[in-house]
Amino acid sequence: MKSHTPPALLKLTNLKKSFQSMEILSGIDLEVMPGDRIAILGASGSGKSTLLRCINLLEFPSSGSIALDGQLLGKATTSTATRTYGQAELPLIRQRIGMVFQQFNLFPHMTAGENVMEGLCTVKGWGKPQARTKAEEELERVGLQDKFEAYPSRLSGGQKQRVAIARALAMEPELLLFDEPTSALDPELVGEVLRTIRQLAQEGRTMLLVTHEIGFAYHFANRVLFLADGVIYEQGTPEDVLKNPKKEKTQTFLARHREFNF
Amino acid sequence: MIHYRWNFAPVWDNLDVLAVGALGTLQLFAICAALGLSLGLFVGWVRYSGSKLPSLLAISFIEFFRNTPVLVQILWFYYALPLLINVDIKPMMAAILGISLNSAAFSAEIYRGGIQSIEKGQWEGAKALGMTLSQALRRVVFPQAFRRMLPALTNRMIEIFKMTTLASAVAYVELLQQGKLLSSLNFNPIETYTVVAIVFFLCLLPLVQATYFLERRLGRSDQ
């Protein structure tokens, strides 16, 4: 019986990354299907952010491959394991992947609306009126339509992060990456951002979320990855990994985070 | 385009002339740096001494010498001062007066910047122990401030070294002055001035590298 499975949206094969002499990622194999909502957990230094940053090539993998929509990124070199990534293709790849940073990284010299418009105008070449309409839509989606003219310095942390999310969404990415989006927020502001992310999940977007919010991961994700020793140490449904972890390090990690609420 | 045939022979033959100039440069630099940096300490102290008149005088001194070109200052001391006090001022003295006082004004501000950069808590800790203002300054604040001031101070020394060339305007025998002499004697400005530039570059390079090094370790050197 042949099943017609669509190609994975994202496929990582034996991805490794070293910084100087330290190997952070020791061989990551991952397939992300459209509509997947994957939560990535792990101790500090386990390579969670590095993994995310390799996907949109803010870091180049030391070896291994990345395929987006079945298409391998970069060019093969003589060594079969490594690939090189050319300057010209990077912007084209990154346009298709959205990233939300822990430190928001909003452009302080532009208003919220201009931040959201920026990618559309400068990268995609849209005209200002079109971009503005789209920006207004996305800001409305995150509930900040009345902050279009506000500068980031006038916004709270939670609002800034939601604008950052709108900025990523405006590019209509195939894949959304969240690098600890709430870690830099005061506790009372975390909720508004998580609500926005959950709303996106309900819209069926493909998302990878690196987070410490285990309770949120449980409700949001359809798959949970626990990183340790530079590999995907344990993987499964939230029920499996978070409530009934099978392996020792996962259990230790979760035990230290007892205070979360399901 | 460049058909010129370089000929350094006349320069090498007259190295002794340049050497005399280099000596003059170093002498002037040493005197002005020592005078300027220490006078600056005094001026800075007076400026913050609390009494109205001395403080005002110090401020005027600092503002005046920072906001006028040093060449104007040197020439004033050379041409104008003799008439005022009826004493002949030699070129070297005019240069020393101009450059040292100028440097004192800038140094005073460096010291101020360094001292002001030390958090209030340090002062309070010292006072809480029962130290007087002067003890607090000497034992606690200045030692810390000095480290922060080092990049700006070495930068100031570089500026002083460069300023010694201005003494050539009053015919003091320093390196550039000797260069002028040689180049007009031998009609070879290209080689002469190139050598002079290289000598200055080599002399200043260690100081400049030291400043970069200190800036990296201790913070910026903006004055």
């Binding site: 346009q95 452009f107 500068y151 990523a168 | 006028t68 260069g179």
Partner: protein, 225 residues
């Protein structure tokens, strides 16, 4: 006791005014050429390509590590023979001080650019911007705001440095001062007046710059558009 007599000085005030105008002219010209040159040098120095990095580093280091007067003499006396061109004091002055201030501006630019946080660059890249776009849309607008105080301070420095042109007989304020002193035999009065003129212009400029620095620091946010 010297008897002050400013009358002969006022009689030649027009020469001094001409001198002041020329001083400002040279300063303005040097700034006009020096700023874009400084930005170019800074970007070259920041690039990874050796063919850009090394020449620009060389120019910057040489012009920061040699005395301006030596540079001026070289451009005025040596260069015309080397490349077989006519040289006037004005051209030598503008040439020297443009490159010299560019070397200092380059460092100000570089510091400003490097002071923009890495995250800003990454956000631009993550949106799919090319490196040039990241520089022009994200980094430079933020860097320039921070650099303005340093620039203005450098500009004021330049006003003081340009007095050197008097030594190659360019008719700036200092040169004219000498002329008037020789005509009137009253160097004390003339030089004092000149010192006061320089002081007024530079002091006022300094205070304006300080005020602007405060303004930029307080508002923090700026409309760079």
């Amino acid at each position: 006791m010297h008897v002050w007599n400013f009358q002969p000085v006022w009689a030649h005030a027009d020469l001094l005014v001409l001198g002041l105008a020329n001083t400002l002219k040279v300063t303005a010209a040097a700034l006009f050429f020096g700023m874009p040159l400084g930005l170019t040098l800074a970007l070259m120095r920041l690039s990874q390509a050796k063919v850009f990095k090394w020449p620009s580093s060389l120019v910057i280091e040489v012009f920061r590590t040699t005395p301006p007067l030596v540079q001026l003499f070289w451009f005025f006396f040596a260069l015309p023979i080397l490349v077989n061109v006519e040289m006037t004091p004005y051209i030598a002055a503008v040439l020297t001080f443009s490159i010299q201030s560019a070397a200092f501006f380059a460092e100000v630019f570089r510091a400003g650019i490097e002071s923009v946080e890495k995250g800003q660059r990454e956000a631009g890249q993550a949106l799919g911007m090319k490196p040039a776009q990241v520089m022009t849309r994200v980094v430079l607008p933020q860097a320039i705001k921070r650099m303005i105080p340093a620039f203005l301070e450098r500009a004021i420095e330049l006003m003081k440095t340009t007095t050197l042109v008097a030594t190659v007989s360019y008719a700036d304020l200092l040169f004219q001062t000498n002329e008037v002193a020789q005509k009137t035999f009253r160097p004390l009065e003339v030089f004092t007046v000149t010192a006061l003129i320089y002081f007024s212009v530079i002091f006022v400029a300094s205070k304006i710059v300080n005020h602007l620095e405060h303004k930029f620091a307080i508002t923090g946010e700026g409309t760079v558009r």
